[in-house]
């Protein structure tokens, strides 16, 4: 082995150990590479590194063994285009160039004028450029420049040493970069945790110290609690909460749900807490049971996440209303309503059945009275026949009464189905039917206003049978009667009115008009059952409307009604 080779080996070995010593100091490593290379080859050495996209190269270290090469220093840290560098122009494929002796005339046409000027200016006699690669990826270029014309030119051994150093330097650089990245991440994480710690501490202070909020929270008549987002342990609890649970807050703070409530209950609470914190949205729990010192209570709870300035859930705020009493009252109300509805349905069924079954004996009374008249009419004599006829008319009257009650019951039971109804048309057809039964009556009929509305046609027809029927009946003593249907807007409400110029009534009794079986006239004056206006009132009530009457003895009557929300279905 020649001395030169032995010396080179020693230099390379020294370089390798110098690189590993500089592993934790990236910038130091860059200088060490240039230094070692310059020493090993006794020549000026520069190190350039590729930019991220590989199109630029930046000189990062320079070691000159001869008196300073002016201008080269100034190029440090300035990125340049790789394709305008010497290697990039002379050997872009391999990235390696070995020029022991530059022939300027041959080089002039192959490189940019700037590069050529630089070579002239820096007095380059020969140079070696080797691209450093790690797993095939180019990291940078190590360049060895010889200026000295008194020494032998660069040779293959120099090239091999440079190549070997470039390989070792490449791995050292890759490792150093990895180390630097890991270190940066570690440092970054550490500082984030420190920031969070500080934030938490100041928030805790704020939440503990704000007397204004304290006063509000303490006196709200609902349980208010705050839990730490990580451990879900209580950090605040107000007075209403203490009273509700029956646990002093001293025992609560720092503890979690699992310390106080049955496992399943605590798991439910915690699941809702986590949901709130995870979605960073308020969660509303309309009903949840909770075990307290005074037994099970029911809560309506809202859980709200409280975020820090980084947008992380930091605390959970809970507000719970004790709805145990309201729930119990509601249940009682519901039971009462169900019972009332059942009773009402039962009553309806009963009244229907009674009305229904009462007709059978009436048929017998009427039928057999007639049979009596048929078979024994002569023997009964005039008085007897009169009595038999009165029995019959009583039976028939009772049948009418029963039919009216049936209708009243049906009005209450059948579902309301609104549709377009022309009350004017209904009015005229009702009058026409009455006129057919009593063709001799003279009645003038007038309608006015917008009479199109929405209501249940069957129920409205029953109502008009009664209202118009009454008007017809109570004007029967007039030579020429007048019956009017009108519509007027009163205080934003449509009011329909049916007026007549009949016998009227005394307003003192107006309250009694709409009661079942209440009558203001004797049957001999005006026949009737006293169910009609009760039916009218039910029809109106089913529509959500009102009905009222005005009248004067001898001066007619007006019945007015509204039909509720006619847009309803």
């Amino acid at each position: 082995m020649t001395d030169r080779l032995r010396q080179a080996l020693a230099e390379v070995s020294a370089a390798a150990s110098a690189f590993s010593e500089q592993m934790t100091d990236y910038d130091g490593l860059l200088d060490a590479i240039a230094d070692s290379c310059a020493r090993a080859l006794d020549a000026t050495c520069t190190l350039g590194l590729f930019g991220d996209d590989g199109t630029t190269i930046t000189p990062v270290a320079l070691t000159a063994v001869r008196p300073t090469v002016e201008g080269l220093e100034g190029m440090l840290r300035h990125p340049r285009r790789y394709d305008q560098s010497l290697v990039g122009q002379l050997s872009p494929e391999t990235g390696n160039v070995f020029v022991p002796e530059i022939e300027l005339s041959g080089l002039r046409d192959r490189i940019t004028p700037e590069a050529f000027t630089a070579i002239e200016q820096f007095g380059v006699r020969g140079f070696i450029s080797v691209t450093m690669r790690v797993r095939g990826e180019p990291l940078g270029v190590l360049t060895v420049i010889q200026h000295d014309t008194t020494r032998p030119p660069l040779d293959e051994l120099d090239r091999d040493i440079a190549t070997y150093l470039a390989n070792v330097a490449g791995f050292a650089l890759a490792n150093a970069r990895l180390f630097r990245r890991v270190q940066e991440e570690l440092i970054g994480r550490l500082s984030a945790e420190q920031v969070a710690e500080r934030t938490r501490a100041s928030e805790t202070r704020a939440i503990q110290a704000n007397a204004f909020i304290d006063a509000i929270v303490e006196n709200i008549p609902a349980m208010v609690f705050v839990k730490d987002a990580d451990r879900l342990s209580f950090v605040r609890f107000n007075r209403a909460g203490e009273q509700l649970l029956g646990i002093p807050r001293g025992e609560l703070i720092g503890k979690s749900d699992f310390d106080f409530f049955p496992k399943a209950e605590a798991e439910f609470f915690v699941a809702k807490d986590r949901e709130t914190l995870r979605n960073q949205q308020m969660v509303d729990i309309p009903e949840e049971p909770i075990q307290t010192a005074s037994g099970t209570r029911w809560l309506h709870t809202r859980k709200v996440p409280i975020l820090d300035e980084l947008g992380e859930s930091r605390y959970l705020l809970g507000i719970s209303h004790d709805i145990t009493d309201r729930k119990r009252d509601m249940a009682a109300l519901e039971r009462a309503r169900d019972a009332a509805e059942a009773a009402s349905a039962e009553l309806e069924a009963f009244s229907y059945s009674v009305a229904h079954d009462l007709r059978a004996p009436l048929r017998a009374i009427d039928g057999f009275s007639q049979a009596l008249l048929d078979e024994l009419g002569d023997a009964l004599g005039e008085t007897g026949r009169g009595y038999a006829n009165r029995v019959r008319s009583s039976a028939q009257r009772m049948a009418t009464l029963i039919d009216d009650l049936l209708r009243l019951s049906r009005v209450t039971r059948s579902p309301l189905r609104r549709q377009r109804v022309d009350l004017g048309e209904l009015f005229r057809s009702t009058i026409a039917a009455l006129q057919r039964d009593e063709p001799a009556r003279r009645v003038e009929v007038v309608t006015s206003g917008d009479l199109i509305t929405r209501g249940d046609p069957r129920l409205l027809s029953i109502m008009f049978d009664n209202l118009v029927g009454n008007a017809w009946k109570f004007t029967s003593r007039r030579e020429l009667a007048h019956i009017t249907l009108a519509c007027a807007d009163t205080e934003g409400e449509r009011v329909f009115s049916i007026s007549d110029d009949g016998v009227g009534f005394d307003m003192a009794y107006s309250q009694k008009l709409f009661g079942v079986f209440n009558r203001l006239h004797t049957d001999s004056d005006f026949p009737g059952t006293g169910v009609g206006l009760a039916t009218v009132q039910r029809v109106v009530a089913r529509h959500g409307g009102r009905v009222w009457a005005r009248g004067e003895v001898g001066n007619g009557a007006t019945f007015s009604f509204t039909l509720g929300d006619t847009n309803a279905t």
């Binding site: 007709r359 059978a360 009436l362 048929r363 039928g367 049979a371």
Partner: protein, 145 residues
Amino acid sequence: MTDRVILLVEDNRDDEELTLRALAKSKITNSVVVVRDGVEALDWMFRRGSHASRPEHQVPQVVLLDLKLPKVDGLEVLRELRANDTTKLTPVVILTSSLEEQDLIRGYGLGANSYIRKPVDFTQFVDAVRQLGLYWLVLNQPIPG
């Protein structure tokens, strides 16, 4: 010679008597067979049970059917008559005191030919019976056979 019979299904003795009187007053001369519950009505129609020996020449021209009946009610009787080939075309007139909408709908739904509510006023009742007798026994042309 076939005997065109009116089958009156009626459990109320008063209504039975009155219906018979009304038929007589209406000059309807067909013979009337009275049965008092749903089971008996079906037995008579299908010549089984207590009416297994019903003479074959007695052909029901029209059935006057009450709805409220002991054992098997009127609508059930109607359902069975309509389900059977020999009786599915027999005219059935529901004669009842019920004016329940549901009864009407179900009666017609099961294939009743008419639905008449018995009026309390006997004069009206006679009128109704005369009309239905006139229609089902005189005017209406039964299916041949």
